[in-house]
Symmetry: C2
Subunit: 208 residues, 2 copies
DNA sequence: GTAATAATCACTCAAATGAGTGATAGGCTA
DNA sequence: TAGCCTATCACTCATTTGAGTGATTATTAC
């Protein structure tokens, strides 16, 4: 049985050539193609495709909501983003929404077949630049954007683990009030008003 | 000028066949091969290779420290992990340490050439399973491992943003004491003792 | 129909925290 | 040398929070 594919892509010409290309191989069949993903849930429910190719920029709902909808209604359908965008913002939104692959439109069309095979085999096809961005995102540590001193960093590190002031003081061999003094400066520098906000900010921005 | 490569791999036989394989193509040259990465910094400093292939399990320092050392002394050298391990623990440690690729040893040797090209072109070669794990790591939400109720989740979500109890109460239109009541149950379920720990745990384990 | 759970709210008390103010000592720099 | 920053510590005061206890209502499960 051929691999069933659904396309969401608002450029009619591109969508039709993609369908034509994929259908040209008997191992693949495009069972549906749409110029928007507003009804993605219903469509996926009905067609139950193996793979979805999803554009991002479409009238109505974006492909980002699109992925989420597809994944929510049928988690087994593999979704490969197919877009011109390579900004971090949209990229990571798609990944968080559950995309299983991310190809740039400059990908040679022949590579699409590989990508589909890859995603069906439990892989995650990505254009090289995208893969690099994804890996880089693990190399945390925004370098000290807020000009924390060494000692302040020590304190923040322990705070972020959920320690109380008393424990931090103990750990760093300093007086209780010294820790509070550092904390006040940290809050100032991070523009927050309390430890909880500081922890949230530090973890979200990978300051530690 | 051929691509210069350094190998860190403690299995002598494997290391030698890798060197032989890579050297067999005039576009590549193995300028050094070592059975441990204890002196990685000095070696990289001296040889300044384009690419490093790094095993993880080696006597002395692990390949995880290895990547860190290489990247610290010469960020421009691309490091590709080459290992049998595919557990999340080591994988993400390597990525955080700065690895630019991650191949499993079951990778067909011929694919190594592609991978090296890919990493030199700014990509991030990964075995399919690895790429999938990496993408999956973005799909947060460990599903409610701690059996939080809907309302508790609401509260935790706001707490994690650094909000005070008062603000949370306001936001969710409930009494101050109701929020505290929910928080107590949340702390119980998460096995923590205070809001700061809860935030740290929630963010680290992507509970929200 | 009763037991269990979730969601709501109230009250107390002690501990933790944030804010404000100020002080001392060491190091660096202009 | 004077000025500035960092790290250290102290004290006060009001607010926030954690902990303990208890109660009501609605919904779900058995």
């Amino acid at each position: 049985m051929p691999v069933s594919i659904v396309l969401f892509e608002d450029n009619d010409r591109l969508r039709e050539s993609l369908a034509y290309l994929l259908n040209s191989d008997p191992n693949y069949t495009v069972t549906g193609d749409y110029n928007n993903c507003n009804q993605a849930a219903e469509i996926i429910e009905e067609l139950a495709p193996d793979v979805v190719l999803m554009d991002i920029d479409m009238p109505g709902k974006t492909g980002i909501s699109g992925v989420a909808m597809v994944k929510q209604t049928r988690p087994d359908t593999a979704v490969i983003m197919y877009t011109v965008f390579e900004d971090d913002e949209r990229l990571f939104q798609c990944l968080c929404a559950g995309a299983n692959g991310y190809l740039l439109k400059k990908t040679p069309p022949a590579r699409l077949f590989d990508a589909i095979q890859e995603v069906l085999n439990g892989g995650a096809p990505m254009s090289p630049n995208i893969a690099r961005k994804v890996l880089n995102s693990f190399q945390q540590k925004t370098d000290n954007l807020y000009n924390l001193t060494d000692r302040e960093t020590d304190v923040l590190q322990l705070l972020v683990k959920g320690n109380s002031i008393k424990v931090i003081a103990d750990e760093l061999n300093m007086a209780f009030d010294t820790v509070r003094s550092h904390l006040k400066k940290i809050y100032l520098k991070l523009h927050v008003n309390c430890g909880k906000e500081a922890i949230a900010k530090a973890l979200n921005e990978k300051l530690i």
